[in-house]
């Protein structure tokens, strides 16, 4: 058996545009490869014209580029998987990293199963064991309550890694690297046909510095105006707990929680959010948490830095007024 060498990153792209998680993975891959004294690879599957130089500037020593202008236009997971498997079988990396985006989480298991290797999901930490040189894959489990340290017995050691967990690789436009291109493999009958792309709202709560969320304490959808005003005063965006999304007050893009979006803003304001475990799993890593709730025993106060026991309909307007006054007068 040929030796497995190198740290490979799957370069997720959509319609030729590289997903930022790729740069985060390349940053981590450079660290790991330096410890192993090995190279960094990037496997990219997509249309022609992808900025492969950018992947090299961000740390890739070699780029393996499977290209076709039509075949990769849509998220055809089986076609992508087959092409990635071929590259991995050809290159034989020791470590292989995918972004834990929705597409990465659907794709990576197919690749791992086809290669009969292990796959560790949603890693938040990756280290090299100083003893045996193996990858230690650290991931939360049990709804974010524990951290498991996992090792693979089979090569490549494969993981999906959470988006916005690691810093992007520093760009160095003087870096040089090689590019190897591959002809695509087509599947005769893909069994799946993607019929239509339905536009989705552009809003992304994960990028916000301040999130002001409303929970069941909010009585009607019109009252979201209040939450929006506070968010604006703080230069942030509106979030929500699950019940309000279920009631149709606000779209799913705003939902914070285990089954919604995970956020880590500088400030998280919870207005009338009781703090169910499923909500807390999505925001507990915020830098500062501030809670407003009429119930002094609401669990949200247990994880808050600051809190006011009171009605959000009284507290929020007062906060807005005070913030605006403070901004104007000094």
């Amino acid at each position: 058996m040929a030796e497995h060498k190198g740290v490979m990153v799957f370069g997720e792209q959509k319609k030729g545009k590289i997903h930022k998680v790729t740069y985060e993975l390349l940053g981590k891959a450079c660290e790991l490869a330096a410890k192993l004294d090995e190279q960094v690879y990037c496997c990219v599957v997509g249309p022609s014209g992808i900025q492969v130089d950018e992947l090299i500037f961000r740390g890739a020593d070699k780029v393996f580029y499977v290209t076709d202008d039509d075949l990769f236009e849509l998220p055809e997971v089986l076609t992508y998987a087959k092409n990635i498997v071929r590259v991995i079988e050809d290159v034989k990396p020791e470590i292989c990293l995918f972004g834990a985006t929705s597409f990465g989480r659907s794709l990576a298991p197919r690749v791992a199963a086809a290669l009969k290797c292990g796959l560790t999901a949603d890693c938040t930490g990756l280290e090299i064991d100083a003893g045996d040189g193996k990858l230690i894959q650290i991931r939360p489990a049990f709804s974010e309550n524990i951290l498991a340290h996992i090792k693979s017995k089979v090569l490549p050691q494969m993981s999906t890694v959470r988006y916005k967990e690691f810093d992007e690789a520093v760009r160095d436009s003087s870096r040089k690297g090689e590019v190897k291109t591959y002809e695509p493999i087509r599947i005769a009958d893909p069994m799946i046909e993607i019929l239509e792309e339905i536009q989705k709202e552009e809003f992304s709560i994960a990028d916000a510095k301040v999130v002001v969320s409303a929970g069941k304490g909010l009585k009607s959808p019109e009252d979201l105006k209040l939450i929006r005003e506070l968010a604006e005063a703080l230069g942030g965006v509106v979030g929500s707990s699950r019940p309000l999304v279920e009631e149709g007050f606000i779209s799913k893009a705003h939902q914070v929680g285990y089954s919604g979006n995970r956020v880590k803003p500088k400030l998280y304001v919870a207005c009338g959010v009781s703090g169910a475990p499923q909500h807390i799993a999505g925001m507990k890593e915020s830098e500062m948490i501030f809670a407003i709730n009429t119930d002094p025993s609401a669990p949200i106060f247990n994880i808050a830095d600051y809190g006011i026991v009171g009605d959000l309909y009284e507290v929020v307007p007062k906060l807005i007024e005070r913030i605006n006054t403070r901004k104007d007068v000094q």
Binding site: S102, A141, V315
Partner: protein, 267 residues
């Protein structure tokens, strides 16, 4: 039409306790339940059965006690429950679990659709569904949030993936993993509970699956990954300052804290 629903029995996450000092999970501290996302998968299957006619088979891998989860699945509308249980299945990771479940599906025989939750609340990987599909060599779609059409040859679904929303058509046999948005699971019915009580739940061990599975493919032996260590991370230290009696004082002092933290830029 036959629909297989993959079910996992998990601890009730709202009650389970974690010992931070010892770094252990006290599974005994909580009751068990069907993984919440799997209830959505089951509900989707039962809705297809009601609209188009289908046999719904709930399939689970777990300890003998997981039989209860299968009875509950029957109470909620499944026609049958099958448990894959054997000491030698213990310690299975994603690949070994998916291999074992795929063997169970092969033994069931013909099927049109496999439905599963998008992830479990204990393992939290969200990977088993796609791996089962690969081992059965069938297509899969993850994160299905709506079933639009059930036809004789295919099913049309809406999925939220690749930073967009797509409508996809999947030919049978195929596998779908579903989100919580797909439906609101019903409660067990009285009739369902009666059937659940009477139902025989076949238990298939390694011998029963030997045509499709050997000892090296399942359990610890069949697992390419292993958990080396588990830590219960300490909760992030919080100030924990709560104004209980004075809203005005709270508002004034908190806004000053925001000014201090430069969240509010005072001029």
């Amino acid at each position: 039409m036959r629909i297989v629903v993959l079910i996992k029995q998990v601890p009730d996450m709202e009650k389970v306790k974690f010992d931070r000092e010892k770094g252990v999970i006290d599974r005994g501290s909580a009751g068990t339940e069907i993984n919440p996302f799997d209830l959505n998968a089951l509900e989707a299957a039962v809705q297809i059965k009601e609209a188009n006619g289908a046999e719904v088979v709930a399939l689970s891998m777990g300890p003998p006690s997981a039989e209860n989860a299968l009875r509950e699945a029957i109470a909620r509308g499944a026609d049958k429950g099958i448990l894959l249980s054997d000491r030698r299945f213990g310690g299975s990771d994603v690949k070994a679990t998916a291999t074992t479940l795929a063997a169970g599906v092969k033994k069931i025989g013909e099927f049109d659709l496999i439905l599963a939750g998008m992830q479990t609340v204990d393992g939290d990987t969200g990977q088993v569904g796609s791996e089962v599909a690969e081992f059965l060599d069938i297509p899969h779609v993850c994160y299905v949030e709506k079933i639009n059409e059930v036809n004789d040859e295919d099913i049309r679904v809406t999925t939220d993936i690749w930073d967009s929303v797509y409508e996809e058509k999947v030919k049978y046999p195929g596998l779908l993993t579903v989100t919580k948005d797909i439906n609101s699971p019903r409660l067990p019915s009285f009739r369902g509970k009666m059937s659940a009580r009477k139902a025989e739940i076949p238990v298939w061990g390694l011998e029963a699956l030997q045509e499709y599975l050997d000892e090296t493919m399942t359990g610890i032996k069949g697992s390419p990954t292993m958990v080396k260590r588990v830590e219960v991370p300490p909760a992030i230290k919080r100030e924990g300052r709560v104004w209980r009696d004075s809203v005005d004082a709270g508002v004034d002092e908190f806004v000053e804290i925001l000014v201090g933290a430069k969240v509010v830029e005072a001029r």
